[in-house]
């Protein structure tokens, strides 16, 4: 029999439904794989084996009664920024190293209702702040394609776990590229939905007007199936949008004849590696050969996205992270009677350097005298970036671009230089600034490392961009490629 961890969600669902395997067997096989290789990859912060096997037993009882939905009995890894009741949720931070939520995030509730089995919590850059997974307070995650390299970030644990067969799919979050960029660097599929499509209730806030939860999986079909479960209105999130969500799986017919695809010239910048450029251009050719109409387009405000994001996101973060005061929950420095000293040391010891840097930057941008020059200015530029996308979507159905201008780099390569680290988010940030959906999927290898193709659509076009990705995926061999882990 084929190794279970190599199967897609649809294949697992088929075997579970016909009772060729049980959820307990499937879960056990993943726990064994985690036990045998995660010491090399470090994709999990917490593995909850007993909890998973209990959920798997419940799933098997449901399946026995004929209740087998698409995700019933199938294991999942969830990024450690998403609240899971009774399972510690650290956000990759010392601040929350012992924090055990008393409630589930809405997406977790929905997955549990669908019969999902939680394997554990994924490693990540602290509070989602980072592009390499090296900002985790616990350990860095290694890229399954080359363990000396980073898996991307911030959902690096999720991407590495799926790529190495330690989870059939994962739930990540994307504030500036944190689902798509690690998906690209680990050779998997990741979808950042339209802002407001998936409830943020229980997603620990980094930058609230940018954060969005989404699926990460081996292929497009898997991501569509997961999105169906986690999307939709939630009264517990005031920015959740009240609109019906379609069956995304039904949107996948692989017919892209006549679909108009814009190629934004600004996304093919000087800082882009040649290998990435070649793979993406060859993917565009492929899409053209499948009947898509290729249209060169321009998004002139793209060059301002980096500055716009790195003003607004840290500003929101500086307000959101003010809650960690060592009083109600989280790390607390107790060795003083002075309130302010306790708070200052708590936050100094609890937060890592990147988080401190962004809190400082955000507070600077919001402070009297700089508010208009930085924060307000960036909010206005945000309008212009959004307008650029609105205008271009009058003429094309979707945009095709690289996800990351570079492939996975070696650990430590950019950690000393925040400006260089931030610069690799250049192709993903504009999407969050405009609240758009975008999917990243594998489009080949450069020097043996995965390259990601990004497909960006107007608000609520998930069905359409997933279908474009699906068409490409079906006609190529890249999705589901498995790295050799020695």
């Amino acid at each position: 029999m084929v190794e279970l961890w190599k199967l897609s969600l649809a294949e697992m669902h088929g075997l579970l439904k016909e009772k060729s395997i049980s959820s307990v067997e499937l879960t056990q096989s993943y726990l064994e794989r985690i036990n045998s290789i995660d010491s090399e990859i470090k994709s999990y912060i917490t593995v909850c084996g007993d909890f998973a096997l209990k959920q798997a037993g419940e799933a098997d009882r449901r399946i026995a009664k004929g209740e087998c939905e698409k995700l019933t009995g199938i294991p999942v890894q969830i990024k450690d920024l998403i609240a899971t009741k009774d399972i510690r949720t650290t956000c990759g931070s010392n601040m929350l190293a012992d924090y055990v939520p008393v409630f589930n995030a809405t997406c977790v509730e929905r997955l549990y209702e669908a019969g999902a089995v939680l394997l554990g919590k994924g490693n990540m850059d602290e509070f989602g702040m980072g592009s390499s997974c090296e900002n985790s307070a616990f350990y860095a995650t290694n890229n399954p394609w080359d363990k000396n390299r980073i898996p991307g970030g911030s959902s690096g644990g999720a991407a590495a776990a799926v790529a190495s067969g330690q989870a059939p799919y994962a739930i990540g979050s994307d504030t500036g590229g944190s689902i798509r960029q690690p998906a690209a660097m680990c050779g998997i599929v990741g979808l950042k939905p339209t802002y407001g499509l998936v409830s943020r209730y229980g997603l620990v806030a980094y930058a609230s007007s940018f954060d969005q939860i989404g699926p990460m999986g081996k292929n497009v079909e898997d991501c569509a199936a997961v999105l169906e479960v986690i999307s939709g209105y939630d009264e517990l999130d005031s920015t959740s949008l009240q609109r019906p969500t379609p069956s995304y799986s039904d949107c996948l017919d692989a017919n892209i004849a006549g679909v108009r695809l814009g190629i934004p010239e600004e996304y093919f910048s000087d800082g882009m590696e040649n290998g990435v450029r070649e793979r993406v251009i060859s993917a565009v050719e492929k899409l053209k050969s499948m009947g898509a109409i290729i249209v060169p387009v321009s998004l002139p405000t793209t060059k301002y996205a980096l500055a716009c994001y790195y003003i607004l996101a840290p500003s929101e973060c500086s307000a959101n992270l003010a809650r960690y005061d060592g009083v109600k929950y989280g790390y607390s420095y107790q060795d003083t009677e002075d309130m302010w000293e306790a708070m200052g040391v708590t936050r100094s010891q609890g937060f890592g350097m990147e988080v401190k840097r962004r809190i400082m930057l955000g507070t600077y941008a919001l402070s009297s005298g700089y508010y208009d020059a930085f924060y307000l200015k960036a909010q206005k530029v945000r309008t212009l970036i959004r307008n650029d996308f609105d205008a271009v979507f009058q003429t094309v159905d979707a945009l095709v671009a690289p996800t990351s201008p570079v492939v996975a780099f070696e650990h430590g390569d950019r950690t000393d230089d925040p400006v260089r680290m931030y610069s690799i988010d250049v192709c993903t940030l504009p999407v969050n600034i405009a609240g758009l959906p975008a999917v990243s999927l594998p489009c080949g290898l450069s020097d043996g490392l995965p390259v990601g193709l990004q497909i960006i659509g107007p608000h609520f076009s998930e069905g359409n961009i997933l279908n474009i990705a699906y068409a490409y995926e079906r006609d190529t061999e890249w999705s589901g490629a498995i790295p050799v882990i020695d």
Partner: protein, 96 residues
């Protein structure tokens, strides 16, 4: 755009983070380089542009002010670092 030690320390005091001397030196070098990148926005004409807070139009949500079951006291206190009975114990806030 330079930042001196006292500006970094002032910023740190606003955000209630105690910085080591090493942190201050590093931030003194890094923050101005990041802020320099932000100056690129000055070349964008925005005088007639309205700011965007959320990229998707969101509206205020209202609901009836009805009674709901809250978390229990034990649940609320379960992550508190310093608990005294049914209360969270904090440092002295007001001196006599």
């Amino acid at each position: 755009m330079g930042l001196d030690n006292s500006e970094i320390e002032h910023l740190a005091s606003l955000v209630r983070i105690t910085l080591s001397e090493g942190d201050i030196e590093m931030l003194k070098e890094q923050l101005p380089r990041i802020l320099e990148q932000f100056e690129l926005l000055n070349e964008v004409e925005t005088s007639d542009v309205l700011p965007t807070g959320h990229a998707v139009n969101v509206e205020s949500v209202m609901r009836q002010d009805e009674l709901r079951t809250p978390l229990s006291t034990a649940e609320v206190l379960s992550n508190a670092p310093n608990v005294l009975g049914e209360h969270i114990r904090v440092k002295t806030v007001l001196e006599e």
